[in-house]
C-alpha cells in the first residue's frame, strides 16, 4: 500500500486529467452527436448521406487509430497547433479524437431514441405548422433524449474508460501513471493495479447509478 500512499498526489493529478478529458469530450460528443442526429433525419439527402457516412466510419475504426490519426496525422503531420504548450496541445488533440469517435455512438443512441417517439407527436407538431427544425428541436428530439438517458450513461462510462487510450497522443493520464508506478514499485504490482482499478470504479459506479436514476425519473410516461 505504501506506493499508493506515497504517490497519492501524482495519482490524483493523473485522475484529474482523466476527468478533464472525459468532461470536455463528453460535452463535445453530446453537441456533435446531436448535430449528426439532426443531419441524419434531415429532409436533405446530402446531409443524411454525409452524416451516415461519418457515423459508419467513426464507429468502425479502432479508437487507437482515431487518436493516432489526430495525434500523428492532424497534429504532427498536418501541423495543426491548438496551443503553444505541448501538453495543452496534446490534451486538445486527444479531446478532438475522443469526441470524433464518441459522437458517432451518441448519434446512434439518439436515433434509436427518435424511433421510440410515436409518429403522432411529429404529425401533431406539423399540423400546428411547425417546420422541420422546430418539430425536431422542440417536439421529437427532447422526447428522444429522455428515452435514451440510460444508453447515454453507458456511452459516458465507456468514454471514461476510453480516455486511457489518450496516452498514444502523449497525454499523461491514469494509465500512464499506472505503468510508471508498476515499473518503479515492482514489488506492489497488485496493490497498484487494484488502486487504479478502484479509481475507475469510483468514477464509473456513481455515473451508472446517477444515469439509472435519471432514466427512471425522466422516462416519458406513455
Amino acid at each position: 500500500m505504501d506506493a499508493l500512499l506515497i504517490e497519492r498526489e501524482t495519482i490524483l493529478a493523473a485522475f484529474w486529467m482523466t476527468i478533464r478529458l472525459t468532461a470536455v469530450s463528453a460535452l463535445g460528443s453530446l453537441v456533435l452527436g446531436t448535430l449528426l442526429t439532426a443531419m441524419r433525419v434531415a429532409p436533405l439527402a446530402s446531409l443524411r448521406a454525409a452524416a451516415s457516412c461519418y457515423v459508419s466510419v467513426a464507429r468502425n475504426t479502432p479508437l487507437t487509430l482515431v487518436l493516432l490519426f489526430t495525434g500523428l496525422g492532424v497534429g504532427a503531420n498536418l501541423g495543426v497547433e491548438l496551443s503553444d504548450d505541448l501538453a495543452t496541445n496534446n490534451f486538445w488533440l486527444a479531446c478532438i479524437g475522443l469526441t470524433a469517435y464518441t459522437s458517432a455512438f451518441v448519434c446512434e443512441a439518439l436515433r434509436s431514441g427518435l424511433n421510440t417517439v410515436p409518429v403522432g407527436q411529429a404529425e401533431a407538431a406539423r399540423s400546428l405548422g411547425l417546420g422541420f427544425v422546430k418539430t425536431l428541436g422542440l417536439i421529437t428530439l427532447p422526447q428522444a433524449f429522455r428515452a435514451v438517458v440510460a444508453p447515454l450513461g453507458s456511452i459516458l462510462i465507456a468514454l471514461t474508460k476510453n480516455t486511457t487510450i489518450a496516452l498514444v497522443v502523449g497525454v499523461s493520464e491514469a494509465s500512464v501513471r499506472m505503468r510508471e508506478m508498476i515499473e518503479t514499485y515492482g514489488d506492489q504490482v497488485i496493490e497498484i493495479f487494484l488502486g487504479f482499478a478502484a479509481g475507475f470504479l469510483l468514477l464509473c459506479l456513481p455515473m451508472g447509478l446517477l444515469f439509472g436514476w435519471l432514466s427512471r425519473r425522466m422516462a416519458v410516461a406513455r
Binding site: P43, L44, S46, T64, L78, I182
Partner: protein, 264 residues
C-alpha cells in the same frame, strides 16, 4: 426506418428551396474537403510516391498481411476465450447457491468497469513481478480482451437465459433432467441463439480493441500500418486511411452478419 414524418412533403416552392439548400450543403462539404485536401497537399500527402507503396505486393507481404494476421489472431483467440469465460460466469451468476453467485457477480462487474488498457498493462508490465516470467505482448492483449469481453458476454448470455420463458426450464425439470442438464441442453443453446446478434456486435468491439496491442508492442494492423509502413515511406495519412478502410470493411461485414442472424 424513414423519418419523413418529421417534415411536410415539399410543394413546388419547397422542392426548389430544398434543391438550392442541398446544393449549398454539397458545396460546403466540398469546400471542407478542399481545405483538408490543401492541408494534406501542403505536407505532400497526395504525392504519388506516398500512395503507390500501398499497392505494392511486398508492402502487403511485409506489413499489412502480417499485421492483419496479428489482429485477427488476437481477436479470434480473444473471442474463443471470452466466449468460454462468458459461458462459465453466466452460469455461475445464475447459480442458486449464493456463494457461487456473489463472487461471480463481483468478478464480472469488476472486469466490466476497469479500462481494458489497465488490464493489458497489469499483465504485461506486472507479469515478471507476479509470476517470474515476462509474458508476450500477445498473451497480455489476449488476457485483457478475454477478461473484459468475457464479462460483457457473460452479461449478454445471462440476459438471454433470463429472457427465456419459465416454461422451458420447468418442462426440462419435469422430464427429469438435472440442473446441469437443464442449463446445458435447454437454456444455454436457446440463450445463445437469441443473443447471437449481440455477441457478434461484441466481436466488433473486441476486434477494434485488439488495436490496443500496439501500445505494448504487439505487431497488429495499426502498428504495422503506422509504425511499419509510415516509418518507411513517411506516409502517415495514406497508411492510416488504408488501415481504417480495412477495419471498416471487416466490421461492416460483421455488422451485416449480426443483422442477418437477428432476422433469422
Amino acid at each position: 426506418m424513414t423519418y419523413a414524418n418529421l417534415y411536410e412533403r415539399p410543394g413546388p416552392r419547397g422542392v426548389r428551396r430544398n434543391r438550392a439548400l442541398a446544393a449549398l450543403v454539397a458545396l460546403a462539404l466540398l469546400a471542407l474537403a478542399y481545405v483538408v485536401y490543401l492541408r494534406f497537399d501542403a505536407r505532400d500527402q497526395w504525392a504519388a510516391e506516398k500512395w503507390t507503396p500501398l499497392l505494392r505486393g511486398d508492402v502487403w507481404a511485409t506489413f499489412i498481411l502480417p499485421g492483419l494476421a496479428g489482429t485477427l489472431g488476437a481477436a479470434v483467440t480473444g473471442v474463443i476465450l471470452a466466449g468460454l469465460f462468458g459461458l462459465v460466469f453466466a452460469t455461475a451468476r445464475l447459480s442458486e447457491h449464493r456463494w457461487i453467485r456473489m463472487p461471480a457477480a463481483a468478478v464480472v462487474e469488476f472486469f466490466r468497469s476497469v479500462p481494458l488498457l489497465l488490464l493489458i498493462f497489469f499483465a504485461f508490465f506486472g507479469s515478471y513481478m507476479l509470476i517470474g516470467v515476462n509474458i508476450s505482448a500477445f498473451a497480455a492483449v489476449v488476457f485483457g480482451l478475454t477478461l473484459y469481453n468475457g464479462s460483457v458476454i457473460a452479461e449478454i448470455v445471462r440476459a438471454g437465459v433470463l429472457s427465456l420463458p419459465r416454461g422451458q426450464s420447468e418442462a426440462a425439470y419435469a422430464t427429469g433432467m438435472r440442473k446441469g442438464q437443464v442449463m446445458r441442453l435447454v437454456l444455454l443453446p436457446q440463450a445463445f441463439r437469441a443473443m447471437m446478434p449481440a455477441i457478434v456486435s461484441q466481436f466488433v468491439v473486441l476486434l477494434k480493441d485488439s488495436a490496443l496491442g500496439l501500445i505494448v508492442g504487439y505487431d497488429e494492423l495499426v502498428d504495422r500500418g503506422l509504425n511499419g509502413i509510415a516509418a518507411n515511406f513517411s506516409n502517415v495519412i495514406p497508411a492510416a486511411i488504408l488501415i481504417a478502410a480495412i477495419f471498416i470493411v471487416i466490421n461492416l461485414s460483421l455488422d451485416r452478419l449480426a443483422h442477418r442472424l437477428g432476422a433469422r
